[in-house]
Symmetry: C2
Subunit: 254 residues, 2 copies
């Protein structure tokens, strides 16, 4: 059974931060991630694999990407790929992530509009998280621009929800904006959110979970969790932090 | 010496469209692309490799991606990857494309703002083409939205040009909008454009080159060129079309 804590464990691999028992190179990725998965399996609702951290090691990294996906096994996998291109090209990306990597969900960048997003929406049983308001400072540059009386990210959300789909649909809404998360949740009560930015990026788990107020969401923690310890007791540190996070996310009102 | 025709050959691989002498699967990608490269080397200014068409075949496709890049050799390679993520993640994508794949240029999606684009701009001697006005119908959905009296894509261009960089900078401006290309070129006389959309997407090479009126640009043709022939004489068909395109692009005023 999948734990319903809402905790999403982000497997952002950075071998230079691996505990000392591992070599500080890409050869250790699979072993380290397998251990993280074992340590968090009973409290994680899903795992997020950001393709960038694997692609940076070339073909060796891609081999690791597939092996880590295998290590996740039957748990839910979000491929954080932020893809988006013209129609036939987006279709190819969707095949890569849904068929070949066998991810359950993907993140998609909306800048190119409807025909760049819709190919991802044609996959029954898969989830598509479209970027809305991201967690980084640069989210102010374009996403918050006023477009006909609303912000661009709101226009993106309204537009995407009006498009044809057979997949499930959700949005990326960053955890660095608690008040906005609460406001967005009020406007979109039933839509799934992928909420990154807890931990290293500054978002507080309990506040963020409260702001979401029970709407469907998963909350991603990457560096703040998987590198929670670096000494010999790093496994305990990771496990303790995972349990703490899961508790805060699952019981925001306590 | 690099031919200065402005012709960019897009290696969008689709094995189902390969000539009959090749098997219709990913095993033929490298052989087919090597032949296309040989047939076009003396008229192509650069080659564009869209990562989606390789990623769709999983690890086998990634192996082909690297082999095709090797086959291009010393000619100029644009990795059409449309990446963009928060800072440390974009840095990883930049390493993947510039260091590992050894591409000369990349395409970047701007939705996430300044700190998502700047990591790509920190590479001396590389070129970053940011998506501005793309060639697909969906470009109307967000890129053409009015933001403070100008269109979002214009706001993107102005913003990006104001950011710190050591790389070269350019923009993707679709060839399906001749009049707009001419207007954009008038506003940005010296900025490099990557102009996709000629051929299968409907753009006419001569009109588009005229609209650009001598500004720095490369014009991409993918399906319309590499699948120009399917019979036994397909090599002649490709070569004839490449020469025709190069002539029209290079001599738009004739």
């Amino acid at each position: 059974m999948v734990p319903n804590t809402g905790l999403c464990v982000g497997l952002d691999v950075d071998p230079s931060r691996f505990p000392a028992e591992y070599t500080q190179g890409p050869d250790s990725i699979v072993e380290f991630c397998s251990e993280i998965i074992s340590l968090t399996r009973d409290v994680a609702t899903c795992y997020k694999i950001n393709t960038a951290f694997y692609e940076q090691f070339g073909r060796k990294g891609i081999d690791a990407l597939y092996a880590v996906r295998d290590a996740v096994g039957t748990a839910y996998v979000i491929a954080d790929a932020k893809r988006g291109d013209i129609g036939n090209t987006s279709s190819a990306y969707a095949r890569a992530v849904f068929e070949d990597l066998q991810a359950d969900a993907i993140t998609v960048a909306p800048y190119m509009g409807r025909d760049s997003v819709e190919p991802f929406l044609q996959w029954q049983g898969k989830m598509v998280y479209v970027l809305a308001l991201t967690s980084n400072p640069g989210s102010a540059d374009f996403q918050r621009q006023n477009v006909g009386g609303k912000m661009l990210f709101e226009h993106v959300m309204e537009s995407v929800l009006s498009w044809d789909r057979v997949s499930d649909i959700g949005f990326v809404v960053g955890a660095t904006h608690e008040r906005e998360l609460a406001a967005i949740r009020t406007s979109y009560t039933d839509v799934a959110f992928l909420v990154p930015g807890i931990g290293a990026q500054g978002g507080d788990a309990r506040l963020i979970a409260s702001a979401n107020a029970g709407g469907p969401a998963v909350f991603n923690v990457s560096r703040g969790l998987i590198y929670a310890g670096s000494g010999e007791d790093w496994r305990n540190a990771v496990r303790t932090e995972a349990i703490r996070l899961a508790h805060e996310l699952h019981s925001p009102g306590e």
